[in-house]
Symmetry: C2
Subunit: 209 residues, 2 copies
């Protein structure tokens, strides 16, 4: 667990977690890397290699114990810790993300929601009352926030991010269409919908050729 | 333009397009690969290599002509074609995506929206009236649809996708937390929010060590 794991492996881990969750849900107790390989459309050797990064988990002739592997990957992904989330930007996407966070029940709890629009103040987003972006520093004095979901327009994303960092927030789930400029030690996970849509557009175009 | 471009390059193109759009918006007429490199935090040689895949565009001693390069990358990405989109699943995420598509004005037009919930029938999503998923085959007889945005729960995503494919839809922007099983010649672009959130969770966990 001490050695450095490549981000390529980390990117694949949630997919293992997702498939193992489905298997668990279906009551499957154990699975071989070959069976998992067929399900996931990746090679069995890729699966073995990926999981060997974390010390294996598989047993020769038995395969993987599904509940155990599911739990272990969950731990590696940090899903055994509770994460407090604030949502910045209470538009459609903010609603979707708030709803998503509470629905998925991974280990994320929305404890605050903020917008610049005074008309939204006091309105409910899930279980929390929307506050104004100006109230963030005060809020952060009394609440531990593990990550901020940025569902606000790109024009204001950079300034809000700097304010959040100055007040101790270290991780961002960024939906704004901008690459945030952050110092060392700050984590940003981008979901750039426009980039994704353009990549799709390119591939649609290739179909036509 | 005839040679095969790697998906890694294609994944980076939207980011170039985004930065060039910002430059254009700011009235910048030309930029060197070095200047662009500083802005984008990638090496100048990476930029030159990427753009050389499409025949260059740069001129020694001049750099890149911003409006020209913006337009050319737009063409490569297929953004000069209009794409008709239908949205399947009119929850919060469906609303967010519908709003996003019309707001971004790339080259995408939402021409239909569908849900399984009879109570939503006839309600407006943007400019279109929500229809029932059962009405999709009839709709597809009279409308050209370039892509379907799947913003529905994973339990129904697979069945709806098969129905759409059987009725001629060839491209999917998939937000359901499932890897769709599609035949050759069908394009799927996944936005797996749960995978993204888990990757963020892992990286938050690493911060604490």
């Amino acid at each position: 667990m001490e050695k450095e794991i490549s981000q390529a492996v980390i990117r694949r881990l949630p997919r293992y977690y997702r498939y193992l969750g489905d298997l668990l849900h279906a009551g499957v107790e154990r699975i071989s890397s070959n069976e998992l390989s067929v399900k996931m459309h990746v090679t069995a050797s890729q699966i073995r290699q990926d999981l060997n990064n974390f010390g294996g988990f598989g047993q020769q002739g038995y395969g993987y114990n599904v509940p155990y592997l599911y739990e272990e990957i969950g731990k590696i992904l940090g899903l055994n810790h509770r994460h407090n989330v604030i949502v910045i930007g209470v538009g459609n996407l903010g609603h979707a993300i708030a709803n998503y966070i509470s629905f998925e029940r991974l280990s994320f709890t929305m404890i605050g929601a903020f917008d610049v629009n005074p008309e939204l103040k006091g309105k409910k987003l899930g279980n929390v009352e929307v506050q104004l972006v100006d109230e963030i520093p005060e809020f952060l004095k009394t609440h531990d926030v593990d990550l901020a979901a940025l569902t606000l327009p790109k024009e204001s994303a950079e300034a809000v991010t700097q304010k959040l960092i100055a007040n101790g927030v270290k991780a961002f789930w960024n939906f704004a269409h901008v690459d945030l400029d952050v110092p060392e030690g700050i984590v940003v996970q981008n979901v750039h919908l426009s980039d994704s849509l353009m990549q799709l557009s390119y591939n649609i175009n290739q179909l036509k050729d």
